[in-house]
């Protein structure tokens, strides 16, 4: 949705990652979203996370639904295949893609209308199945492309730009993700890049269904007084439970914090997360406690951010289905076709 070509040229001294790429190699086309849109900050965080993880850009498949958030995959990872699918149906398309080739990294991008309203069913079921992916909801509480209607994540009592008060209860996707069995659950804020980038990195490294809700204010329709998804409101009510550093596999742990405030969490792929705990006694592996914690703070009007839950031993869909290690899309006649002799045996059994 871009009319202006983005210049390719860049400063020769730009830092390079382990693969020799600069962060420019992880960019897409120029964003056509409104200036100041929270979504663009998330785009920047995804670019930064992929750059820092030294992911080969073309090994990522980015799949989205419909809406402002779902437009963003054109703005990052220009060398990746992307799929802007159908409203609310990113999870099924991503599931199918993941089944076809288990070797790619799957990034699902959705919004609050896409995931909490029209796509609530698919949101739920993709998490139930444990599809190995990073599912990001760019959550602004409002329908941007259709000019400002409430979405299902808008808080009850919050006010629209036109002054209408929302009388419906809101859906908390993070609480649902915890309940539905996501094995990595986090919430962040597009205005807090320092928190967001490491969370995206940890989610990508996670070998299972990672769900990430990112509050991302809509500057055009939901950044006014009375909104609970505005920059000001989120900053005032943000209650971070932890800060995160991602330590790649084999790298030494260099973060240095006071005894007891640092928790090292090992992920299945060998990478480690150094969590600087802010909330005392918060256990990152306790799903039930996370739900309670979330709801207690929500009742006080606080928005809990950080990594809320990690399952150390996630089981992904391919493991459940016991599929072969080779990607299904690489199998040929020799692998798949039982041949005429087998068919003769079948015929014989049908007489």
């Amino acid at each position: 949705m871009t009319y202006i070509a983005k210049p390719k040229f860049h400063h020769p001294g730009l830092p390079k990652n382990a693969l020799g790429y600069t962060h420019r190699d992880y960019e897409g086309t120029i964003s056509t979203l409104c200036a100041g849109c929270g979504h663009d900050s998330i785009t920047a965080a995804i670019i930064e996370a992929c750059f820092e993880l030294s992911i080969e850009p073309h090994r990522v498949a980015k799949i989205s639904g419909i809406g402002c958030s779902s437009k963003t995959p054109t703005y990052f990872l220009g060398n990746s295949h992307g799929f802007n699918s159908v409203h609310g149906r990113m999870p099924s398309v991503l599931t199918g893609a993941n089944l076809a080739n288990r070797d790619l990294i799957y990034l699902g991008v959705s919004g609050d209308g896409d995931s909490a309203s029209i796509g609530l069913g698919q949101f739920a079921h993709v998490l139930r199945r444990g599809v190995n992916m990073t599912y990001i909801v760019e959550n602004n509480g409002v329908y941007g492309l259709t000019k400002g209607q409430f979405s299902a994540t808008a808080d009850r009592g919050s006010k629209s730009k036109r002054g209408v008060v929302n009388t419906d209860n809101s859906i908390d996707l993070v609480a649902m993700a915890l309940q539905l069995g996501a094995t990595f659950v986090a919430r962040s804020f597009s205005g807090d890049k320092a928190q967001l980038v490491p969370i995206i990195k940890a989610a990508i490294e996670h070998d299972g269904a990672a769900f990430l809700d990112v509050i991302s204010p809509c500057v055009a329709f939901n950044n006014h007084a009375g909104s609970t998804k505005s920059f000001d409101y989120v900053r005032e009510h943000n209650e971070a439970v932890n800060r995160l550093d991602v330590i790649p596999a084999r790298a030494p742990i260099t973060v240095d914090y006071a005894e007891g405030s640092l928790q090292i969490v090992e992920q299945h792929d060998g990478s480690r997360l150094a969590l600087r705990k802010i909330g005392a006694d918060y256990d990152i592996h306790d799903r039930t406690a996370a739900l309670g914690f979330l709801q207690r703070h929500s009742a006080k009007g606080q928005i809990v951010t950080g990594v809320l839950f990690i399952d150390g031993e996630p089981v992904d869909l391919h493991a459940s289905l016991r599929t072969v290690d080779r990607p299904l899309n690489s199998l040929t006649e020799a692998d798949l076709c039982p041949g005429s002799a087998a068919l003769e045996t079948i015929n014989a059994s049908l007489r």
């Binding site: 073309h58 220009g78 992307g82 802007n84 699918s85 893609a97 080739n101």
Partner: protein
């Protein structure tokens, strides 16, 4: 009208009236198979309600040495095991026909008819004398009536015993008791009834090497042989058994030495999700399909438009049932022709294949994956309940081991590296089919963004008129290309010169073949065309042009195939005479011959005459 009992060998219809869930299905199926093993073709049909237990269900077996596998209509021999439907079942018997009923409890004469032969067998009494366990009583009663039938119809007993052995292979403890039950019924009949009846079976050699298989199972085997690796589906009658069969076949044929699966099957949360998964997998280079029926097609509409416009391969097996809405979910129709051909909003057209029987369901099932990859679009394999959920005698399934999958135009990393130009929607060969790349192919070349919005030849978003029209025209060119790739119509000309033709498709086939014979008997000659796919090959237009009138026989109310022909081939509707059967039962030769014959008789008796001066 014939007087006295029907006297026929190897040419009659037996109907079993049972209660759903009583375990009758396996005994009834054994009856059909035993006759088939005697070298006599049979054509069985399940007639069942949308229910699991307690409602009436029927199993009909047409015994037909002449090999007429369509439904015939009418019942010559009724096995009335369901008190709930007894009166209707008795009424359904042809004059001179036979009734077998459980005579344990005497019934008043008013329950019967004078013009049929009534055969009372005290099934409950025999069963209760022998068995005390209620479930055993219920199950063995079915085998006992099978035993009685074997005597009455002069069936080959060793063949039935062999079938019992095959049925309970691995559960060998059950073989003896079942054989015993068989003989309980048989012996009672031999001692107490005049056996055999004038209506009976006699050994023949008319089955040959044919196999006996359900269309859904054959289609699923087609998917296995065609290289499908991803199946996403949502349970819906009458298609669920297709996904079940794929699961079963894969467990036997697609597991590697380590016990790992070379396939992935997902029971989705709904049909939107199942088609979404198919599209995701197809986009990512796997061969994927879903199995569904009419209501599922309705739910998939938006995604089908995306797959058409974004050009993503996928296969949809639509096992049609009577609509609209929930309609008659366990009855057959060919009623989704239009909703599949033009599925989704905007200008869309889809490729449909119309198999006539399980053997073609296998062939077309396998072929559909090549077509989907070659044409980069969804392919619909249009089965129906009559083919899908009934065992049908058909030619053996065949596979050529030298056959390679056609993965279509997929640009490789090597080609990209060598500098070959890649435009996702660029028509390189003039056939309307562009190249695609699988995600993850090359670090810097060949990636593109897939979307349902308009784009240019290089997959770049645009709302400009020129590129939009250019793309829509290319999609039409692609559809033209499809005409020569899909299975061609088959023509069978009458030996005599005739001004009349008939077009039919799918499960109508055996009834049509039989009807032609009936019509010839009445002095009517007709040329036949069996349409096997949409878009229509040019021969459809020329066949119509070669005849004054063409009957279009189909199993729906609105003459959907006829509308499609009128619309796509630009035919004057007057030339196409609709012959429509849509009551949920399978179409019969009697119906077709009656309906077409009526038209032709009219043409015959009202020839143009010179006005006498």
């Amino acid at each position: 009208m014939p007087s006295g009992p029907i006297s026929r060998v190897n040419d009659f219809v037996v109907r079993f009236a049972n209660v759903n869930g009583s375990g009758s299905a396996s005994a009834n199926e054994m009856f059909a198979r035993a006759i088939m093993r005697m070298g006599v073709p049979v054509s069985p049909r399940n007639i069942f309600p949308s229910n699991i237990q307690g409602l009436p269900t029927w199993y009909e077996v047409r015994v037909t040495e002449d090999g007429h596998l369509g439904a015939r209509g009418g019942v010559d021999f009724m096995v009335a095991m369901n008190p709930q439907t007894f009166d209707k079942d008795v009424a359904a018997i042809e004059p001179g026909g036979y009734l077998l009923y459980d005579s344990t409890k005497p019934l008043p004469a008013s329950k019967f008819r004078d013009d049929i032969t009534v055969i009372g067998v005290p099934l409950t009494a025999i069963t209760n004398r022998e068995y005390s366990d209620p479930r055993q009583r219920q199950l063995f009663k079915n085998i006992i009536y099978l035993g009685a039938l074997s005597a009455l119809l002069d069936m080959d007993v060793p063949a039935i015993e062999k079938l019992i052995g095959e049925q309970y292979r691995g559960k060998d403890k059950l073989i003896g008791p079942n054989v015993h039950a068989l003989h309980l019924g048989r012996d009672w009949a031999l001692q107490n009834l005049k056996c055999p009846l004038p209506i009976r079976v006699q050994k023949a050699d008319k089955v040959g090497d044919r196999i006996f298989i359900e269309g859904n199972s054959a289609a699923a085997l087609g998917a296995v042989y065609g290289g499908a690796t991803v199946c996403a589906w949502y349970p819906i009658t009458p298609s669920s058994s297709l996904a079940d069969a794929f699961t079963r076949h894969c467990a036997k044929l697609r597991v590697d030495a380590d016990g790992k699966a070379k396939y992935a099957i997902i029971q989705a949360e709904d049909e939107l999700s199942s088609i979404g998964m198919v599209i995701g997998a197809g986009w990512n280079g796997a061969r994927a399909f879903t199995a569904t029926s009419g209501p599922g097609i309705s739910l998939m509409q938006e995604f089908l438009g995306l797959a058409y416009f974004a050009e993503i391969p996928g296969v949809v097996f639509n096992v049609q049932r009577a609509g609209p809405s929930t309609g008659m979910p366990t009855r057959t129709q060919q009623c989704d022709i239009i909703s599949c051909a033009y599925a989704s909003h905007g200008d869309t057209k889809h490729v449909l294949l119309f198999p006539e029987d399980p053997a073609e369901a296998f062939d077309f099932g396998a072929m559909s994956f090549d077509l989907a990859d070659r044409l980069q679009t969804p392919i619909f394999v249009m089965l129906d309940l009559d083919i899908g959920m009934n065992h049908r005698l058909c030619r053996p399934l065949a596979w050529d081991d030298s056959r390679a999958y056609d993965r279509g135009k997929v640009m490789t990393a090597a080609e990209l590296e060598a500098g070959k130009e890649f435009g996702r929607y660029l028509d390189v060969h003039g056939d309307g089919i562009p190249y695609r790349t699988y995600p993850g192919t090359h670090p810097t070349k060949g990636s593109f963004f897939t979307r349902g919005t308009s784009r240019d030849r290089y997959a770049k978003y645009t709302e400009e008129a020129g590129p939009y029209v250019d793309n829509m025209q290319r999609l039409l060119r692609k559809f033209e290309t499809a005409k020569d790739l899909v299975p061609r119509p088959l023509i069978a000309n009458s030996g005599k010169s005739t001004r009349y033709g008939v077009i039919y498709f799918g499960s109508t086939s055996p009834a049509m073949d039989e009807a032609i014979g009936m019509l010839e008997g009445r002095g009517h000659a007709l040329d036949r065309m069996r349409v096997r796919a949409f878009p229509f090959h040019s021969s459809v237009t020329s066949f119509i042009a070669d005849h004054d009138f063409v009957f279009v026989v189909e199993q729906n109310r609105d003459a959907q195939l006829r509308s499609l022909i009128v619309n796509e081939c630009g035919i004057d509707p007057v030339r196409l005479v609709p012959i429509l059967h849509y009551d949920g039962t399978p179409i019969t030769a009697r119906f077709i011959a009656g309906a077409i014959g009526e038209h032709l008789d009219k043409f015959k008796i009202a020839p143009k005459r010179k006005v006498a001066s």
